[in-house]
Structure formats: C-alpha cells, structure tokens
Subunit: 148 residues, 2 copies
DNA sequence: AACATATAATATGTATACTTATTATATGCA
DNA sequence: TGCATATAATAAGTATACATATTATATGTT
C-alpha cells in the first residue's frame, strides 16, 4: 500500500472539509434562524413525514438523545410538531409544520448553490470516483463501528 | 452539471463518513484515556513543539476557545505543558510532555491501522483522485468561509 | 510618553454528540 | 396471566465547536 498521502492526514482532510462545508451551510441556515444540523432534520422529515424519533436518529446516524434535543428546539420554533404514536405510547411521530416545509424548501435551494460552489472545476468522472471512494471508506469504517 | 448524486447528499456523505471515522478513532484513543480531538492536538504538537495556542488553533482550523479548553484537559492529564512565552506575556507556548510523546507515538500506529482499514479495496489511482477532489472541495468552500 | 488599536487568552452562553442511567411501555415466553 | 427482557424517549454529565465579550498585554502613531 503506497498511497500518496500521509496516513495521519486522512482524518484531517475529512474533518476539515466537513467543517468548512458546515460553516458555509451555517451562513445560509442562519437567515432562517436554524443550524445546519437542524436543517438536516427538516430535510429528512420532508421525505419521511411522521416518523418516530428513533427512526429519525437511525436515518441521521446520530443518537436518540441528540435528535430528541434538536426536535425540542425545532418544536419551540414551530417548525416541527410531535404527535403521540397511536400504535406505541412510548413513541412520538414527528411532523413538519407548514412553516417548517417552507424553511426546507428555501434552504434546499441554498443547499444546491453550496453544492455547485463546492464542485466547481471538478470533472464529473472524478467527482463520481470521489463519491464511490467516500462510500467505500464509510463501509470499511462501519464494519466495527456501531450504527444502524 | 449532471452529477450522479443528489446535491443535498454531499453534506450527508461528508458528515457521515467523518463521523464514522471519528468513532473508529475513538475506540483506539479510549485506551489512552483521550478523545480523537485531543489526539489531534498531540499530533500537531509533535511536529510543532512549543507553539502558541493561537497558532495551534490556526493549524487545527478550530477557534482559540476550543483549543484552550482542550489544552486545559491535556494539561490536567499531564500530556502537555504550558510555558509562559518569554517574548509575549499574553501568550503561552505549549509543549508535549514525555508521557504525551509516548501517547502520540502509540496512537500514530493505531491511526495507520485505521487508515489501512479505511482504504481497503480502494485502487490507489482512485484514492489519489479522492484526495484531489477533497482538496478542491475544501478550497472551493473556503473561499467565503473565514479561516486561516 | 500617551493614546488608539490590535492581539492572546479566557469567560460565558448555546448547540451538537455521545455515554450511561432512568422511566414508561411493549413484547416474548412460560 | 405474569414476568423477564427489550425498546422509545428523556435526563444527566462530559467534550467539542463556535459566537461574543472581557482582560491583559503589544504595537503603532503622534
């Protein structure tokens, strides 16, 4: 195995690129008075309306406690709503409110802009390889990390 | 621009892969009673012995307050040491202790293992493209994000 | 020297992210 | 049915991560 990069810098590259992506997204989400993580919740709900906090935490690869807190904040801002699950009295089903839907719709446009900014000057074939490698890294690292 | 992936999923891919990488590293750093972020500090100090917290925060792309807190914790564990900067009474110079050096040395080996686990089955040429694309994404996104 | 401005570190407050424990409710099985 | 076990959500505690403010010290200008 003779890769060009120092093995210790894979972590740096992942973390720094992810951080800067978050910071750019934060500049956009700020206008809607939410964080990028909260946008992530709204985006999931858009295509998974009425799922439980448990399922949501699995889909987002975050633990239940974290997602629960985020739902608290989003509910306080009236962007989502908790509904008692009629089939399981331990669970809540989470719904987007109308305002919540409007916020996601607005931010999806910003998100597309950020994507275009991010991939500027990158050849499509290379970007495809990048995606494939990222998925492989994820799969390789997931083998012994606990997740859904 | 017709990339294969949904523009909204670039963030997911970055965040999830970075998270899983952190979780795997955490399994290793735990044996040394530190976090992956604290390992990052020690690793930087290894090649930049005696730099200020300010410089350290710049090299790590984190803000000074965050790095200051991490130094507090590492100092409490006797892995690093603060020294008054003789040339600037506002500043501290941060040093690895002997124990700190041993911890980095041990974890660098673990880190190499994690790297190998991560890149298993990935063709070197594709990994090179991956690195290049990551760097381009970083550069593109850094244009309007504040950083060093 | 005196003063305005910049800078290094710290303090404070908010928001993830994860661990462990707790509570209420489900579910499987005797 | 009754009980052991599993599960959904929450609570409490620790550690980033960042924004804003504060304090002490430097530095530039007059």
């Amino acid at each position: 195995m003779s890769f060009a990069i120092d093995p210790h810098s894979l972590g740096y590259l992942l973390h720094h690129t992810t951080s800067v992506h978050r910071r750019v997204m934060a500049q956009h989400t700020k206008a809607f008075d939410i964080t990028p993580e909260q946008y992530g919740v709204l985006l999931q709900l858009r295509t998974a309306e009425g799922i439980s906090q448990k399922r949501l935490s699995e889909k987002m690869h975050k633990d239940q406690a974290t997602v629960g807190k985020m739902i608290d904040k989003l509910e306080a801002k009236a962007l989502v709503q908790r509904e008692a699950d009629p089939a399981d009295r331990r669970a809540f089903l989470v719904h987007l409110t109308d305002t919540g839907s409007q916020v996601v719709d607005g931010l999806m446009q910003d998100s597309t802009q950020v994507h275009e900014q991010a991939v500027a000057g990158i050849a499509p074939e290379e970007f495809d390889i990048f995606i494939k490698v990222m998925q492989q890294l994820y799969n390789n690292l997931s083998q012994d990390a606990l997740h859904d």
